[in-house]
């Protein structure tokens, strides 16, 4: 197992470098002169030059690229231009909030989405199936800031069931959970919708497989056929979607954090954007890259757990 993880990690290195290269192109080349972007066009030439030096963008492009990649790979993400604190510190400070939200919405999405998808598949083309399909399509169509605001209006403002202010005391577990409820539902709904749809189509596919027929021919009871023989195979594409969704979740958490006024990675990135904190942005992008690579790795590991064919490769 450890060997497997190590091997996958090593295999992920080229991807990481490639992703970082794309980031480099986006952050360093697209904007032309980052210093100008940060300081605006009223800045004095001296100020611009000073900032360029501070950011290390006065060197030739190739040297910049090399610096960027080595710094990123050695974990040096630079310092915020605004607070002067290391980017990594700022990120670690808010990371628990982001993890809370990501994990809880993932749990919600899987816990509801998988059974709903299975149910819809078993009731194919009946009323339950139609309802689930339409509702999940609506769920997919909600931008999270809209669903978040609607939930906020109904449950916090109208019924006053949940707090409006989302900043929670990390040490107080009750408070932390309490303030997590609405944001989790907001993010989780999209996830439920995704997982339901994927589970449904995967189940339909799997239920028509020959090996399901074999299981029935052995006299395995229907419930067990569905759980043991069909669902385990149907989970393989579901894992893919969960992996992809974790990326989307990072994007959506930006909006959720704004709506519910929660601290988190998303909030940090928007603040950096508003303050034109270029160094911070660049560091955050690198962190997102790591997250994407780690997510892919976790997805691969999950495959290995479900599908015996994967371990071989």
């Amino acid at each position: 197992m450890i060997w497997y993880v190590a091997k996958r990690l090593l295999a992920a290195m080229p991807t990481l470098v490639a992703v970082l290269t794309v980031v480099f192109v986006i952050v360093r080349i697209i904007p032309g002169d980052p210093a100008l972007t940060v300081l605006g066009d009223q800045a004095t030439p001296q100020a611009l030059a000073a900032l360029r030096e501070k950011l290390g963008i006065d060197k030739p492009l190739l040297a910049q690229y090399f610096d960027f990649i080595t710094a990123a790979l050695t974990g040096d993400l630079g310092r915020s231009l605004v607070s002067g604190r290391p980017v990594i510190q700022e990120v670690v400070a808010v990371l628990p909030h982001t993890l809370d939200l990501t994990i809880s919405s993932l749990v919600l999405g899987t816990a509801l989405g998988v059974p709903l998808g299975v149910w819809a598949a078993l009731r194919r083309n009946r009323l339950a199936d139609y309802v689930i399909r339409i509702v999940s399509l609506v769920g997919l169509s909600f931008p999270v800031f809209v669903s978040g605001i609607f939930l906020l209006m109904v449950f916090s403002l109208h019924y006053r069931l949940f707090p409006v202010i989302g900043t929670s005391n990390l040490a107080d577990l009750g408070d932390r959970t309490w303030k997590l409820v609405l944001p989790t539902i907001t993010l989780g709904l999209v996830m439920v919708a995704y997982i339901t749809r994927v589970t449904r189509s995967a189940m339909l596919q799997v239920l028509s497989e020959d090996y399901v027929r074999t299981a029935r021919a052995k006299g395995v009871p229907a419930r067990l056929v569905i759980r043991r023989h069909a669902l385990r195979n149907a989970l393989i594409p579901v894992v893919t979607v969960v992996g992809l969704y974790l990326g989307i979740n990072i994007g959506n958490s930006v909006l959720t954090e704004i709506v519910f006024n929660r601290p988190g990675l998303g909030k940090v990135i928007v603040t950096a954007l508003n303050q034109r904190d270029y160094a911070m942005l660049q560091g955050l992008m690198v962190i997102y890259c790591f997250l994407i690579v780690v997510t892919n790795l976790l997805t691969d590991l999950a495959y290995g757990l479900i599908d015996p064919r994967v371990k071989q490769a």
Binding site: V19, F145, V146, I149, N249, V254, L273
Partner: protein, 280 residues
């Protein structure tokens, strides 16, 4: 002609796609007819009549400057639609060309290009859009470029796969023997094969484009005020959410309706074109 025939064939059979198309066309009509159906000027302020709830005079109420929410909603459709349609068209043309060329050239070049596309795809669309707009500065053109960039990869994939197949087939050889240029071969033999797939992808990614545009406007990186945008309206309304919930409700529903119509369209089309996936 073959393309048109294929289009009708694809649409003919599926109710979901028709409903989606109808909703979408209705929203487009609203945007086109804005000058005639909006009633009042969406920018006209009336401080005395600010934050009025919905009434016969102001169907969807007024905002904090006393502007008519209904008029702003109707005009806002233009931004959502023009940004997302332009972005997807751009992504389709550029991404499609990348896929065609990459597939046709093949080899290491193809592998490299597809690797880059995969990486682009693995970035969440919203984050990518966010960064690019922030770096380029918020303007409608930059917004379109940013969103197009997030949707480049899927279209490159669509055109690449059939190009690879067509390249191998006999009639390309035959075509070459007859002296047809590469461009013509690709145009005649690749495009008709992928019309339905392109339609499915275009509608589903347009849904994403609308979502990203609205989200960026909500964050404050969209088309600048005072131009009405749905995301921007919600951003402004959010500050008055306690006294004037209608400021968020109506634009929220409008965004939902547009995205939903596109998802229905794409989903229905996919069911209709892929018999294996029917009803999934």
């Amino acid at each position: 002609m073959r393309i048109l025939a294929r289009l009708f064939q694809v649409f003919g059979t599926n109710k979901t796609s028709w409903v989606g198309l109808a909703m979408f066309v209705a929203i487009c009509a609203m945007a086109l007819l804005a000058p005639w159906i909006a009633g009042t000027d969406p920018l006209e302020q009336d401080i005395i009549a600010k934050l009025r709830p919905p009434s016969a005079e102001h169907w969807f109420g007024t905002d904090e400057f006393g502007r008519d929410v209904y008029a702003r909603l109707v005009w806002g459709a233009r931004i959502s639609l023009s940004v997302s349609i332009s972005a997807i068209t751009l992504a389709l043309v550029v991404g499609g060309t990348i896929g065609l060329v990459s597939g046709y050239v093949g080899g290491r070049f193809d592998m490299l290009v597809m690797q880059v596309m995969d990486i682009l795809l693995s970035f969440p669309a919203l984050i990518l859009g966010l960064i690019i707009v922030a770096l380029l500065g918020p303007s409608q053109a930059n917004l379109i470029v940013a969103i197009a960039l997030t949707a480049l990869a899927p279209f490159a994939r669509i055109t690449r796969a059939p190009t690879l197949i067509v390249k191998e087939r006999q009639f390309v050889e035959a075509g070459r023997a007859l002296g047809f240029g590469h461009g013509r071969i690709l145009f005649v033999h690749v495009l008709p094969n992928i019309v339905s797939e392109v339609l499915v992808m275009a509608s589903l990614w347009m849904a994403t484009a609308v979502r990203v545009e609205a989200s960026l406007s909500f964050i404050g990186l969209g088309v600048r005020p005072p131009t009405p945008t749905w995301g921007g309206m919600i951003r402004d309304g959010f500050e008055n959410i306690l006294d004037a919930p209608w400021l968020c409700i109506y634009p929220g529903l409008a965004i939902l309706a547009l995205i939903f119509s596109l998802n229905m369209l794409g989903d229905g089309l996919r069911d209709a074109t892929d018999p294996k996936l029917r009803g999934e």
